[in-house]
Symmetry: C2
Subunit: 461 residues, 2 copies
């Protein structure tokens, strides 16, 4: 990243000194993704000048890699001719991504400057819901026929290579556009030229449908190690492919979304440092308010036991520890289960296996924590700090350790069950993570605490 | 996954009925990754029989995709001849992964059955630390020379295709094994046969060194969309490549590690449902104990204000809300920053930009939450529940809202600063996430609460 900052400064200096041919040579040494990153550090007047120095193909690649706000700036300064040139170079899935990010007036300019064939495909791709395979596929792939020879196939690939997002996996379709097989470029390169495509194609093709969830698609890439995955429609007709680079984007996005939701924030696609203060606030504040208000319940529970707390003030000191341990135990279980669900390792049918495992784990944890807590109270609170009196030592540690054990077991069970149920009824399990489960466990641990306290400590009610 | 359970049952039935040729045909319809998954549901006696029916190449691919415990079972039943056959088919990076998972006696059997050339490379690959590019690279790539023509190159590729992990990116090296350029199979396929390789090769090559962190390598794949990345040694000599499928594994592993650490657990490579109860307990209990014990501080703070709390019991009811909101605010900031660090979007040099952003966001959040809390106390606690008396309404809500504001601001600052500092001094920022920051924020919010309370509410000390 340091390197990109240097490149940005060099670009700035060369633009300001109008040393354009030197700048052009300089830029050609870098990868488009690096150029886009360096441009991201520059002001509009600088990068729009530098951008125009790029060779046509590089320009399109740089364009794809830039932030939507920078893309908009460029489109605004483009002539219709320049816009047309960029759109011609873009793969259709990138054009669709662009359209989804741009305001209406920019979108209509983009569509006006696309060919009618492009427009038709774009409109079809735009129809797919945002979370499904159709929305990330491209229609630009190499299409072969069964009866072609390897020589025919190679000739065909040479002709369409420029307009195909990958030539390394080729798709063999029947006259009705049904997908009948795949051939890798490797197989084509090592087979004799006269071999028929149907003799070397792999017929057991793994594919997605346009409505397969894109998270599932990403998991398929992880599992099978594909470079591309074919997508078919409801009638099994080949409609497009998804390439591994798009799958990587999905894997990263889905993980980021889960991280964001688990920390009680609304996911955003903009990198943190480029997000405005107001947008960051907007992504965080609703969840903070909900969680703060839901703490009303814990407050109510404490208020209703005010009398007990005044009678035995020592009990108050253990509230944070009990609630904290409950929350941590619950989020351990919930994060494990939420990620298992995301990665396709845990299904609804596994619910009883999960519960049974968490019961055993939580019993072990509960026993350990109760023992540690008892020792800690005895050694630190009683012997070292003298914050408990001898008379209290007969009851308070027992109440605390029993509550600890019950809370840990309940927290782990709630933590593992809620996300699975959420997924079953179509909710996002990640939202069920730490903060929400913590709120439930907080209330629960207090109820358990006071119930046990009033039944064990004489004089409480 | 349902489909794999069905396949598993079918395999079991066919093995038990000894219908082996039928089973062999059936298995050939599936992808090796699916076969491995189905075998994972079967007992040792069943899957080791089924495994032997697989064609040689498929067998190796299935082997790679199986769990280490199943791999060990297979190696134990293999004859030396069978083991040699599998090892011949494996790519060297997969062999190295296997060796890292196996116990010593199995490792020595594997090495005994490798060729001396293989053994030499394996030993070199084993020397690289676990978290760097060297540990995930393979040495089996296509190596071209500058003076070759496209025709020479294609002939060479045909010869080495079987033993190369990818043929789609070819690496051009000088006589001293220095990396001088890369050529894609696409460029070779569309260029005239007489063209020199040096005329079509890309000279500005992006590469990793053997000691580049593997997380950084994975980020490079995400950024540049590569199918493979060359790895050079300290003297710039080409030593291997990393392929995109291994990069996907790293991306997924690193995200899982961060998830696990942020939820205060020790990461494990085994899927949850296959991990033993004892191992799950072992991954969770140390963190729970540390966090429980660290709650001693919050307990001490409460104990030292026992007198104040008895004088104004209403204060106790707000403790969970204040601590909860502080914890949630802090983890929002810390998770954002931790992920930014992991993805390479935030560097140490950005620390002041991050702090400045969090100051503004936290001021907005603090103001909003203080206002919401005041309203909530007035409407719910005072008017609806009557849990506060009129005299308390003059002081308690002010104390609570001021504490809320101060806590939220401190929590967000601590949440963003600690992970960056941790990374700077070589600690894992993910460990600084929610649970630890929560413990610090818990203690802090209590100190602030009691300090404000004693200075505002008359009669407290």
């Amino acid at each position: 990243m340091e390197e990109m900052m240097n490149l940005a400064e060099e670009v700035k200096a060369l633009v300001e000194e109008k040393r354009f041919s030197e700048l052009r040579v300089k830029l050609c040494e870098y990868n488009p993704a690096d150029i886009a990153e360096a441009f991201g550090e520059l002001g509009e007047s600088i990068f729009s000048v530098a951008y125009r120095l790029l060779p046509k193909e590089t320009a399109a690649e740089v364009f794809v890699d830039m932030d939507p706000s920078y893309q908009k700036t460029l489109i605004d300064v483009f002539s219709d001719y320049e816009l047309k040139q960029v759109l011609e170079e873009l793969y259709l899935d990138d054009t669709v991504d662009l359209i989804e990010e741009m305001p209406a007036n920019v979108v209509s300019r983009i569509l006006r400057n696309s060919s009618s064939a492009q427009r038709k495909t774009i409109n079809e791709l735009l129809k797919y819901p945002d979370d499904c395979a159709g929305s990330i596929m491209t229609t630009e792939y190499v299409n072969l026929k069964q009866e072609m020879t390897v020589e025919d196939a190679v000739t065909h690939i040479r002709q369409v290579a420029i307009n195909s997002e990958t030539i390394y996996t080729c798709y063999v379709t029947s006259p009705g556009r049904k997908l009948v097989g795949i051939v890798s470029a490797k197989d084509l390169m090592i087979s004799p030229l006269s071999t028929k495509v149907e003799d070397i194609m792999e017929q057991n093709v793994i594919f997605a449908t346009t409505h397969t969830d894109k998270e599932e698609v990403a998991n398929m890439f992880g599992k099978y190690g594909f470079l591309a995955l074919p997508v078919v429609d409801t009638e099994n007709r080949m409609v497009g492919i998804i390439t591994v680079d798009d799958a990587i984007d999905v894997i990263k996005e889905e993980a980021e979304e889960d991280f964001t939701k688990m920390a009680a924030m609304t996911p955003s696609e903009t990198p943190y440092l480029r997000t405005s203060t107001f947008s960051v606030w907007k992504a965080r504040i609703p969840w903070l308010i909900i969680l703060t208000l839901s703490a009303t319940f814990t407050g109510m529970i404490i208020s209703s036991f005010e009398a007990s707390l005044s009678a035995c003030v020592a009990l108050t000191a253990f509230i944070p520890m009990l609630m904290g341990t409950g929350g941590n135990s619950g989020s351990q279980a919930s994060v494990t289960v939420i990620r298992g669900l995301s990665m396709g390792e845990i299904r609804f049918a596994d619910i009883f296996r999960v519960i049974w495992k968490e019961i055993r784990v939580s019993l072990l944890c509960a026993a350990t924590l109760a023992a540690v807590t008892y020792l800690k109270i005895f050694l630190i609170d009683y012997l070292l700090l003298h914050s408990l009196e001898s008379s209290e030592m007969l009851t308070v540690p027992i109440v605390v350790c029993m509550t600890m054990a019950v809370t840990v077991i309940c927290a782990k069970l709630i933590g593992c069950i809620l996300p699975i149920l959420a997924k079953k009824i179509g909710f996002d399990p990640a939202v069920m993570a730490a903060p929400f489960i913590t709120t439930i466990v907080d209330a629960l641990s207090l109820v358990v605490y006071f119930a046990i306290a009033t039944s064990i400590i004489p004089g409480l009610s």
